[in-house]
Chain length 166, copies 2
């Protein structure tokens, strides 16, 4: 086989994930006193359609961890290429994430970014801790559908979009 | 807000996921008598780098479910645009998935597809069932690194690749 071997597990993970792309979503919730909380996630995925479930990962050292453990619901935003700045902002300093006038309160008082391509309103079912991270499993309650657009993709630390292969 | 509302949860999930892209991987393992088993996954994601963990989802009605529950290790292949046919084959009829001469035995006798962009050899740590699906959590042991190439992306039931946004 034509592979080179990386025997150190963390280096192997990093090197192989350089070869992997992911979709980009922004997940929001309300903290104490309805404070808006949220972050950019590249781990969001479907976990079955009946019941309609999704999952995403959160680091237990993140600014979202404490609010997540008391929240009941989240808003999962799917992002298009028009949302690159939103993705960057929601991955940067947490105190700057809700300063702009690009969101409003939606179902269950959740912060909703108006320019997202779609939003799933979901109830938190389980938070399953694994080492310093957790898998969060949510059940979909309803959806908000924006215009269909080219999806935002994250690959090699850059925001990209998806195009057909020739 | 400029969204239309989809109040049926399964329809909401489907409609919003039309707006979401995902990376594509192929996960293999050995069944009884070293029988090769595997499938295409769009749910594979990193779950922390120290220890190096990854997760993916499996339907408990799938052909992989029984072998997964006795396997100890998996090989997670990341795919590039040269692997579109491999992704299609590993999502089609299970008895046709290992008939071609495009794989061989690698570490721990795992089936390894030679043209993958990278492979993570990983030990199964947990299988966490949720309704008719399960989240599988694995710990990376080593990596096999192929040539870096454009990543394979799945979006709106089509295989695509990722390109920079202008």
């Amino acid at each position: 086989m034509n592979f080179s071997i990386e025997s150190q597990p963390s280096e192997a993970l990093k090197a192989v994930f350089r070869r992997h792309a992911s979709g980009v979503s922004v997940i929001t919730m309300t903290g104490e006193n309805l404070r808006p909380v949220g972050f950019t996630a590249t781990s969001m995925t479907s976990l079955g359609s009946n019941p309609a479930l999704a999952s995403f990962n959160v680091a237990s050292g993140s600014s979202t961890w404490a609010p997540l453990n008391v929240a009941t619901h989240v808003a999962i935003h799917t992002l298009g290429i028009q949302n690159t700045q939103l993705a960057q902002k929601m991955a940067a300093a947490s105190e700057l994430r809700f300063l702009d006038d690009d969101w409003e309160r939606g179902p269950r008082d959740l912060p909703i970014f108006r320019e997202a391509s779609g939003v799933l309103i979901a109830k938190i079912r389980e938070i399953h801790s694994v080492e310093a991270n957790a898998v969060v499993i949510v059940e979909i309650e309803e959806g908000l559908l924006g215009a269909e657009c080219e999806p935002l993709v994250y690959h090699q630390r850059a925001y990209k979009t998806a195009v057909e292969v020739d």
